[in-house]
């Protein structure tokens, strides 16, 4: 738990067929130790069949603010959703 140990983000695949999901983070001196620590920390009750550890410093995030105009262009395009379109009464399988 030294200040020199980098931070790793841990992703767990809970079972086959599902994506890896972010579980939390931990400190470790290298990737191998990060994996072992992640196993002990996040999968003590068989919560996972596969683990990823990613150096937190290597993650590029969209912006310092979670409510960023970066995502604004999607907001005014309701025609990307099927509910935007009118379907005549009685038409099926559409």
């Amino acid at each position: 738990m030294s200040a020199d140990w980098p931070l790793w983000e841990v992703f767990v695949r809970s079972r086959r067929g599902l994506s890896h999901t972010h579980a939390g983070s931990l400190h470790a001196p290298d990737a191998q130790m990060a994996l072992r620590n992640a196993r002990d920390l996040f999968t003590r009750r068989s919560e996972g069949v596969s683990l990823w550890v990613v150096p937190a410093a290597e993650i590029t995030a969209s912006s310092p603010d979670e409510k960023d105009p970066f995502f604004a262009p999607a907001a005014d395009k309701p025609y990307r959703h099927p509910t935007f379109y009118e379907v005549p009464e009685g038409v099926r399988n559409l």
Binding site: A3, L7, L41, R44, W52, V54, D65
Partner: protein, 361 residues
């Protein structure tokens, strides 16, 4: 920046997880008002605040204080029970107790991780624990005198913790709430194993039964104190509730816990050490006797039976582990140097272009 947010984490981590440099400098007051309004609206709408959102400094400081104290409690909380691992009466009980103590370590680590998303450094947090500048729950300053204490801790101390923590799963700060969801799932095993342990003793010999009753007698009142001072004397409560860090008052949660425990004690065949305990038809709750808050304050101040022992054991464990941390760091450095030497010149370092290609299982 206030001391709690002074990063001992490197700048890259801070940009990634904590707030950015702009926010730390403090925006102009008009912008700050807009940010405050956005924060208030998010809290009012029961949305979660995430690490890189703007938040009032006092909110951040309050969370760091609470999460750190919570993390420290998990770490110190390993000691009273670990005291009995070598003397567990059967292999079954020993395996259970080891798993439970390991869980407490895990809970501490989830919570330190949550505190770090607010800009607090791990080393800084540990240092504050070791020097007594941050507190842990005063319950762990009581000794575990007999095997039955392991049961009483599971049933009462973990039971009180669960009552406290379930509402924290809906805390307004996302990383804390997510850590609590994980912790609460694991705590229910802790409580049940304690209850089962006490039940076995209660149904055992007269001496075993007396041991169980004695443990419950000693742990009952300190467990009620775990909910903190009465509402009118709780310094942080009102603000924490306005911020939706806390969802219920100390007294409300304490009453909930008493109501839960009375029938459980009856099923155990044990009594709770309170002559004033009686059902109040009008309130629909159990009335209970006055709590000795002087004792609570004394233990909090450092005069409990085990304060000194708990802290010095923690410091010793940290110092004795130094060589392991150094060895791990040396090994990591050696491996990194070997990889660098094996790399053909001109090639960028790093293991693979895409994480999915190496990490795929």
């Amino acid at each position: 920046m206030t001391p709690v947010t002074t990063p001992s984490t490197p700048p890259h981590q801070q940009a990634e997880r904590g707030m950015g440099a702009d926010a730390a400098e403090g925006p102009p007051s008009g912008a700050e008002q807009a940010l405050q309004a956005a924060f208030d609206a998010a809290v009012a709408a029961d949305e979660r605040i995430e690490p890189r959102d703007w938040m009032p400094e006092a909110y951040r400081a309050s969370l760091v204080r609470q999460i750190a104290q919570h993390a420290h409690s998990e770490i110190i909380g390993m000691q009273p029970e670990a005291n009995w691992i070598t003397r567990a009466p059967s292999l079954r009980r020993k395996a259970i107790l080891m798993a439970k103590v390991q869980d407490e370590a895990g809970h501490g680590l989830y919570l330190y991780g949550a505190a770090e998303t607010l800009g607090a450094g791990r080393d800084e947090l540990l240092d504050k624990l070791h020097t007594g500048r941050q507190k842990y729950s005063s319950i762990f300053n009581y000794p575990t005198l007999t095997w039955a204490d392991v049961g009483a801790i599971g049933w009462l101390v973990d039971g009180a913790a669960i009552t406290n923590q379930v509402p924290l799963c809906r805390c307004s700060y996302g990383p804390y709430a997510r850590a609590m969801v994980r912790i609460c799932k694991e705590e229910s095993f802790h409580q049940r194993q304690g209850y089962e342990l006490l039940l076995a003793l209660s149904r055992g010999t007269e001496a075993q039964r007396a041991m169980a009753q004695d443990a419950v007698n000693r742990w009952w009142w300190p467990s009620l104190m775990m909910f903190g001072p009465p509402d009118d004397e709780s310094p942080h409560s009102a603000r924490s509730m306005a911020w939706k860090i806390k969802r219920h008052s100390n007294d409300e949660l304490r009453q909930r816990f008493v109501d839960i425990c009375v029938p459980q004690a009856e099923a155990l065949g044990l009594t709770l050490p309170d002559p004033d305990l009686r059902w109040n038809e009008e309130r629909g709750h159990w009335d209970f006797g006055a709590i000795d808050w002087q004792e609570f304050r004394d233990v909090l101040k450092g005069n409990g039976p085990c304060n000194e022992q708990r802290l010095s054991q923690r410091r010793r464990a940290h110092e004795n582990g130094a060589w392991v941390r150094e060895a791990a760091a040396a090994h990591a450095a050696k491996q990194a140097a070997r990889r660098a030497a094996a790399q053909p010149p001109g090639q960028p370092s790093g293991q693979a272009a895409r994480p999915t290609e190496t990490a795929r299982s």
